[in-house]
Symmetry: C2
Amino acid sequence: MSSQKPSQRATIESVARHAGVSRQTVSNALNAPEKLRPDTLERVLKSIADLGYSPSQAARNLRTQATRLIGFRLAHAWASDVGAIAGRFLDALSGAARDRGYDILVFSAAEDDDEIAAYDDLMRRGATDAFVLMQTHGGDSRTEWLRKRGVPFIAFGRPWDRRQTAHNWVDVDGYRGMRLTVDHLVEQGHRRIGFVGWPSASEVGEDRRRGWLEGCQAHRLPTQGLETRAANGIATGTLAAEELLSLRRPPTALACVSDAMAVGAMRAIEHRGLRVGTDVGVVGFDDSPLATVVAPGLSSVRQPLEALAEKTIDVLVTILDGSAGSTAGSKPVKLLFPPSLIVRESSFRI
Amino acid sequence: MSSQKPSQRATIESVARHAGVSRQTVSNALNAPEKLRPDTLERVLKSIADLGYSPSQAARNLRTQATRLIGFRLAHAWASDVGAIAGRFLDALSGAARDRGYDILVFSAAEDDDEIAAYDDLMRRGATDAFVLMQTHGGDSRTEWLRKRGVPFIAFGRPWDRRQTAHNWVDVDGYRGMRLTVDHLVEQGHRRIGFVGWPSASEVGEDRRRGWLEGCQAHRLPTQGLETRAANGIATGTLAAEELLSLRRPPTALACVSDAMAVGAMRAIEHRGLRVGTDVGVVGFDDSPLATVVAPGLSSVRQPLEALAEKTIDVLVTILDGSAGSTAGSKPVKLLFPPSLIVRESSFRI
DNA sequence: CTGAAAGCGCTTACAG
DNA sequence: CTGAAAGCGCTTACAG
């Protein structure tokens, strides 16, 4: 009948009473177990288990002036981006964070300015300890804002500005990914490899393009006239690929800047009555969900997102659990991860 | 040279000093402004603005025994699901939460049991006030677990079990979505409408199938032999659609259980030298990113995720900000949202 | 309408 | 190795 809570949550106080020790000792059992005599430690740990005790995060936060929460922006863009990888990254990120005793707080923002406003609000309230950024670009105002205020952060994406002040970042070597693609296609016997890219405004796209260009040059293959560009998408990829396929001397393989473009290219190939893989090889980029749900399976450059997420959390935890606040102490982490090529039927000649 | 913090964060104490009032008055200015004389209120508000003060979330949490954080599980599945809508939902959810003074904490879990373990951990630590669940299914152990412990939560997805105890949920009426699809196709002059579905184990899939079935019956259209099933995917959708298209009397339109299946069906149609839309109409489901990046554009049933997210947060905030804890007070919200049909070229006959 | 006081549940020097 | 004490920054009855 009564509406009293089934069981009052255990506190450090109730655990101390249960174990017959002081609150300090319970705290030590959790935060500095080496300070306790083994038998005492065991007794306290048993009480903790018996009572199902976990220290109140709120109390701990207030006392330690930290939240163990890492902020991450949800971009509208990637919620509506086919073949997006941000979901996989966020998943890996929260897993890695959890392993280190942190959690991820997400917030949505339409523009970079909204993201900065969110940073400001969250930091002011002391609701987050650090941030992870994505989709960096030249003249990124976010990194500058955070750096000036000494907020711990790390970017997934290098600073594309050369004059950018140094800060922590990890990124995937898109250039290298494309070199892998070209090498693979050459191995499959291709000598004319086209590139289906994005408009040149995309810094990520240009990096990948350079990999195709220099890869072909390294193998002494032609590149002149063998590239097209279009906005990301399947239909746009089809149109772009058709352009190359209708050349007098068309390429026999297409290195694509994304999986969506590659899936579009596959359609263009089929439209011309050619077979994907056997007649014209296709390789995508990102190894997104798209790559495995199409037929034939799409070869694609895979980003090691799990490793990136681990490192991302690692860097943040080092800052946060280290000499709290002295971000300036050690020099920034700048790490380019090598991607790998996942070969499926779309690039298999025989 | 010195490493002291650029500016000590403002506290209620510093604001009080700055405005020449007591801490209580500052707190009232924020939490009960009607208790202050207008001129005092204005003065305090100005000090708050001048000092850039926001109450410490940690202190507030400890005092109010609430975190204003809502937990949301990231399923591995949807990070790798093409045409997934969970990203859009999470985006809408965090936007709606922010508007109500809440934030979203995400955590990843592989299985339902891991999700429950995370609930347990988060509640024990008092790190979250409530949860939002997705992908409910018959015999869902999560809802039962939460209900027993009186944890505030709401599910996106109805309880597919009929014997399930009542709890808050919102869902989209898939049945109705399919009826819209059938009505639309009939309007376009189709009299033989096939259904490309998922294996019958999917409760969501069966709900949508029933919409196709009864929709056709309502229009006195044949359904016998006009349905196929396959696991979600583009390639699987192609195979399933080919089955129907190779019938002696093939359907002239395909109602598909998802966008991925629909995109696959589009390919099957093209393979047979037919034109999507003009010859064979295709409609997908979810209006995922896929629908707009293919050509022709894919007609699709759109789920009102933004409205669902608003309602989801609304329900939770009502519980949380109301008579804290008395979940049992009012009767549970059970709301089925009507979807809408977005018509694109894939179902346009002329 | 405003002020002094208690207390939320921890952690961490500081004595013993 | 253990215990008593201070204090993190709020909110909220409770007097005045």
